[in-house]
């Protein structure tokens, strides 16, 4: 793929703007996606940070859930941060009973596992496959990955907990690279997208 990939950011709720900026600085064409017809036009998708229960509800309400699941099953590259990680989990703990996910990674994610806002923190995170030193991890009421299946690869841990996972074309982090101005994780994802093109 010589042309820059077109990467959507799911814009139902959350820090959409920050992802659009990070993707643009990683040389992708980035645009918000709220409707099925907008989803059909992108090569890949980022699911931002936000409130996962709200995002799940809006995805159902506006007919996005099935189109999203279909694209993920069909192999579209997806990257989810925080709430986005929850959306990409095959199974979640401490979610709402009616909370839907897209699945995509064989993992169990615990919502708000690192605690409430007072426990939100920053820490340096060694990220397998990303050079130039650790990435800045901003964890906000963040989830962690409780367990992963054989097909999923753990890319980063913090304090014994898995905080970054990849399975095929699907990437998920507990933390928010989009809030740091360091676009290396987004560049890593853009490379994943290019490799599928």
């Amino acid at each position: 793929m010589n042309n820059p990939p077109v990467i959507g950011v799911l814009a139902l709720q959350g820090d959409v703007r920050e992802h659009l900026i990070a993707l643009a600085s990683a040389d992708a064409v980035a645009r918000p996606v709220r409707r099925p017809e907008e989803l059909a036009e992108v090569d890949a998708l980022v699911i931002p940070g936000g409130e996962s229960t709200t995002m799940s509800k809006l995805a159902v309400l506006f007919g996005m859930l099935e189109p999203l699941r279909e694209r993920v099953r069909a192999g579209m590259p997806v990257y989810g941060t925080c709430a986005g990680m929850i959306m990409l989990a095959d199974k979640i703990l401490d979610g709402r009973e009616d909370q839907e996910t897209l699945g995509g990674i064989d993992m169990i994610v615990r919502r708000n596992a690192f605690g409430r806002q007072n426990e939100s923190f920053e820490a340096a995170i060694e990220f397998a496959g990303i050079e130039g030193g650790p990435v800045e991890g901003v964890f906000i009421r963040a989830p962690w990955v409780e367990s992963v299946g054989a097909a999923a690869e753990v890319l980063a841990t913090y304090d014994g907990h898995t905080v970054a996972v990849r399975q095929g074309n699907v990437l998920a982090t507990s933390f928010h690279p989009e809030l740091t101005g360091d676009d290396r994780v987004h560049a890593y994802f853009v490379d994943m997208v290019r490799a599928t093109g």
Partner: protein
């Protein structure tokens, strides 16, 4: 934004990035006033991104009169226990001990709010002293910047809470946006003078001029009662909305809450807003702000 030294291995809590970043996660969402666990669940079911726990909604504070204070810790804890979304709570302006109590209860955001009776007529609380982030109201850019200097990690328009009338929220949001737009056109000489006029530090004024926005998230609050009100505030540039009395003072709170969530997401799609506006039952009655005496205007509180 400051960069984290790569040598740091221990976690750092309560940083500006973590506090402001929390508000970034709420964008595009609706934060609803609730007075008990049952209302909190209705709000969460409707798709609220957070709830604001308080003893009386602003419309009742207006009606009852008297001194309005921080809510009972029991009630806040019940709400924290009832929902999994973030919980905010209000302290009085300048009442840093109420804020300390709220932090100890584990609320996710503190609203240093003009809706409660101010505890200090000169000083707002030093919000840098807290791990819990703060949201503060503003009627204009200078006020917003002064709150940010004091450590606010999120700004909302004040509007006129408890009136069900969006006119003041519109005025405040337009004022803030217009003042930012004006700064964009200023050269350095003018920015020094602008900083003096705004009674805010030059560095912060310059940052706003360069960004073309506040360095923190800007929500709207005060008087939103309908899906169209919420969408209006978003089209005017609010990144999300607080809804106070508008939901639980209406005929069918669950339905209205869900409708306002929809209209906030699809704020630029009149068809979605129209659908969301159908058969909602009675809206809260509302108060005309031009008949409201100066002494009853909450927006005049804080400076």
């Amino acid at each position: 934004m400051s960069t984290l030294p790569t040598t740091t291995q221990s976690p750092e809590t309560g940083t500006a990035r973590v506090k402001r970043g929390m508000a970034e996660q709420l964008k595009g969402g609706v934060i609803m006033d609730v007075v008990n666990a049952e209302q909190a669940k209705i709000a969460e079911d409707a798709g609220a991104v957070a709830v604001m726990a308080l003893e009386r909604v602003p419309a009742d504070i207006r009606k009852d009169g008297g001194v309005a204070r921080m809510s009972d810790p029991n009630m806040i804890e019940e709400i924290i226990g009832a929902v999994s979304i973030p919980v905010m709570a209000k302290s009085r302006i300048g009442h840093f001990v109420e804020a300390q109590v709220l932090q100890s209860l584990g609320v996710d955001y503190i609203d240093e709010s003009e809706v409660l009776t101010p505890a200090d007529e000169i000083n707002h609380s030093d919000k840098w002293a807290f791990t819990t982030p703060f949201v503060c109201g503003a009627t204009n850019l200078g006020e917003a910047l002064r709150r940010i200097v004091e450590g606010a990690a999120m700004i909302r328009s004040k509007g006129e809470a408890g009136t069900g009338n969006v006119v003041e929220a519109v005025r405040h949001l337009r004022q803030i946006k217009n003042e930012i737009a004006k700064l964009r056109g200023f050269d350095n000489n003018e920015l020094f003078a602008a900083a003096k006029e705004l009674r805010a530090p030059y560095e912060l004024v310059k940052e706003v001029a360069e960004l073309g926005k506040l360095p923190v998230v800007l929500f709207s609050a005060g008087g939103v009662a309908t899906p169209a009100d919420a969408a209006l505030m978003r089209q005017l540039g609010a990144e999300g909305v607080f809804v106070g009395s508008g939901i639980f003072k209406s005929g069918d709170p669950a339905k209205r809450a869900a409708a306002i969530v929809k209209a906030t997401t699809f704020y630029d799609d009149p068809k979605v807003i129209a659908d969301a506006s159908r058969n909602l039952g009675e809206a809260m009655v509302g108060i005309n702000c031009d008949t409201l005496p100066e002494s009853e205007r909450y927006a005049n509180r804080g400076w």
